[in-house]
Amino acid sequence: MNKLEFIKGIYPFVKEQIDRLNKKFYHSYFLFENETGLDVIKQGRQEHISEHPAILGGVISVYNGKYFVEYSISDVDKNTIAKVVDDMLANVPVFNMEYRVPEEELGEKYFKTEQKIPLDSIKLEEKIDKIREQSEQIAKKDERIKNVINVYKENFIFKSFISANNFLTQDITRLDRFIQIIVSDGKSVKYNYDGISKQGGYEYAELPDNMIDMTVRDAIKLLGAGQIKSGIYDIVASPEVAGLIAHEAFGHGMEMDMFLKERAMGAHYIGEQIASPLVTMYDSATEPGESGSFFFDDEGMPSTSTKIIDKGILVRGMTDLNSAMRLNVERSSNGRRESYKRKPYARMTNTYFAPGESTKEEMIKSVDEGIYLIKGGSGMEDPKNWGIQIECLIGEEIKNGELTGKIFSPIFITGYVPDLLKSISMVGNDLEISGLGYCGKGHKEWVKVSSGGPHIKFKTRLG
């Protein structure tokens, strides 16, 4: 039985159980999750070709007037669901309602990712052969290449949300392609990586030749990379690094559960100028094809696009259901879970700076002495104090308006977020969104996100 038939078959029973819960509680829902996929990973002489471990289960959630109570189960069958509902009705207390639960009435809806070339239309052998052939070709590009990790992942993310008024189902397909090149000159080992993560089909299976060539070229350059002298620099950041800045700077700090916890400085600056007037920033789950997109979030909210910063003015944040209720703000579709086993939090989706008018060449030409940050790595938020930390894998020196070829690695960006954003003096016309990464909340709760932007020019501290 396929996933859609399964959920349609069990729906009348689940709806009955939700109706039972709603006689006692103020709001209840059932979220079903079934994530499957295929992994093809070639790493030197080793191959890993397998289904990836499925996520299959569900969560029943109720609001008792004061707080939410949830039961997560891996056995999604009538017996288990009925037992959970009986237990909740018998043991979960109910209180006077403190906050009203906002929910749109949408009825029954089914959403599916469009695949231009359906993944199931290509034979497994063809997919594997392509990865093997490509890995061999990459390995021959330079004798300093010691290993090539070539990853192809198909992800089928199926979720259904059942509440009093809604029966929503989404069937999302995402393809992840990733290469990591490990190089050595006998004295040290370095690596570089790149890839694509897009919702869609086999049309994203091919990594562009120039992406592969650049990844190899930069990996080799890293063997001679030096450590940057710490100080304040004029910086041009690639769209990938700009995306990391968007994500870490005013992404985490505008997740509104952080407002409730008094952990976000942004709560005090809504409506104020916190960035250069050149800066406009969005979080949007509605971007077609981007890896952080969906049709509804894990609390049943249809996908939305949120303008977080408008021409430098802080506009609003992103909500999960609890923060929207308690702060009495309009819900956005940012209630996301790592899986059915975890609670929802306010989380980002696709976060990016809007494009401007400058070109990358104009930006580099305008720098006398500075750094072009090419490749990002990881970052960490500090919404409470607007601190930022981003580790970049590759930066190249700029002198007299030209790239010199001198490479530094790793480079750490640190600073005070408003200072950094107010220093943005040029914004590129070349928006790119990249979705290779996952995002954690604190040090856990990993969800798929993307981030991006155009090239941007700014000034901050590097080390």
Partner: protein, 433 residues
């Protein structure tokens, strides 16, 4: 269910070998914002992870294919899932290796908190009560959030060579955020701890320490820029030595990701303390104190680096065969040998020295060995006294920074790290003022 899966695997003659790992997990979770409950959760899951091996020939050479499937408790068509996995495994070409065949003795590890096994929800509310009782004592600091997770895992491993073992493990996680300050200046301290025995976690002390760090941060400044001695304590210790664990693995050697050579120094011309790195599978409350590893083999104690010299690689079953080296099993808890001097002496002869208790994020790169992070909580110690520092970054690399490393004689256990309570680098690059 496990019997059904085993029967289905055994009757299929295209399977060269198989492994099953079942994990039954029961977890209670409590979430608070400030001091009110936001959410209460119960999680009950059962999963069966099945590895299926297929031996086949390609151009006259034997190749091993491996496919992994996750079968649910109520799976109706096990045979079809297995057929699909075999079909995929047939396409996967690897140098063959043999799965673990048993023959070693398994020691029962003490990895179960009876409180978690018997009454998870009761335990959470016991911690909640303690948490509330401490609130007044940390003023003017105050609570932002608390998350508690109490989990019991029952694990069974079996394979086609007759290995069959069970293990029971508990995990307790606590995530707290404490705030201190006022409307004009407010600071936070985030603390995440993961242990086996909640009884061994001193909640009151953890919260009071967080309150002190948050309050101290109100008077913090940026560190100075330049090269300074830096002492790592608390949170950064959990990951500091992880690149060495990776670099000493058979996997890193086989995949040409390690430059370390047996019987040679791990860093050239080291002047500081020499590092000793051991796998220790018997640390009480250690997160890696488990009965068996991913291959079903008993976790063992062994030394990979002794006095700065790389002595031997650790190898799981697969890489032991690939590298034709001893099978040690996977790495257990990371034990680092302590040094000879007290951490109190680390400040001697230093004009200015920095102490870092936590970074915003700290994940040293396992391949390149580089590390760095933004200081979340730290102190500058100089003739001017002790000044809290926050912001700015510290960076270094194993190849260079470990040449002048000093290890305290005091010991600490954090997560899966057992070793010096304080680690001093004679010189690290700081980007600050």
């Amino acid at each position: 269910m496990i019997k059904k899966i085993k029967e289905a695997l055994n009757k299929n003659n295209e399977i060269y070998a198989w492994e099953i790992k079942s994990v039954e997990s029961k977890s209670s979770q409590l979430f608070l914002i400030k001091n009110y409950i936001e959410q209460l959760r119960e999680v009950n899951t059962v999963s069966y992870f099945v590895k299926i091996y297929n031996l086949h020939e390609v151009n006259g050479e034997k190749q091993l294919g491996l496919s992994l499937i996750n079968i649910q408790h109520n799976e109706e068509n096990i045979d079809a899932r297995i057929e699909s996995a075999i079909r995929i495994a047939k396409y996967s070409n690897n140098i063959p290796w043999e799965i673990y065949g048993g023959g070693d003795y398994y020691y029962d590890k003490n990895s179960v908190s009876e409180k978690i096994a018997k009454d998870r929800k009761g335990l959470l509310f016991e911690f909640y009560d303690k948490y509330k009782s401490v609130e007044d004592s940390i003023k003017p600091a105050r609570y932002s959030s608390l998350e508690l997770f109490a989990t019991l895992n029952d694990i069974e491993y079996m394979n086609s060579k007759g290995v069959n073992e069970t293990d029971r493990r508990t995990v307790f996680e606590i995530d707290t955020v404490v705030l201190s300050g006022n409307e004009t200046k407010d600071m936070e301290c985030h603390n995440y701890r993961k242990v086996v025995f909640p009884e061994m976690l001193d909640l009151e002390n953890e919260i009071k320490k967080s309150a002190k760090y948050a309050t101290d941060s109100l008077n913090s400044k940026l560190p100075k820029s330049g090269n300074y001695p830096v002492v790592f304590m608390e949170e950064p210790l959990e990951n500091l030595f992880s690149p060495l664990v990776f670099q000493t693995s058979g996997r890193a050697y086989f995949q040409k990701q390690s430059m370390l050579k047996i019987n040679e120094e791990i860093v050239d011309s080291a002047n500081g303390d020499k590092i000793t790195l051991k796998s220790n599978s018997n640390v009480k409350n250690g997160l890696k104190t488990t009965k068996f590893d991913e291959d079903g083999a008993p976790l063992q104690d062994f030394t990979v680096i002794e006095n700065g010299i790389f002595k031997k690689r650790w190898n799981d079953v697969r890489y032991s065969e690939y590298n034709k080296e001893e099978h040690t099993g996977n790495f257990a808890n990371i034990e680092i040998g302590t040094g000879n001097i007290s951490m109190d002496e680390f400040t001697d002869d230093e004009e200015t020295i920095y102490y870092v208790m936590s970074f915003s994020s700290f994940s040293p790169d396992p391949i390149s060995g580089t590390f760095g992070g933004e200081i979340r909580h730290g102190y500058e110690v100089s003739k001017n006294g002790i000044i809290p520092v926050k912001g700015g970054s510290v960076s270094g690399s194993i190849n260079e920074s470990f040449k002048n490393i000093y290890l305290s004689k005091e010991k600490v256990l954090r997560g899966e790290y057992l070793g010096p309570k304080a680690v001093k680098f004679k010189s690290l690059n700081i980007t600050g003022e």
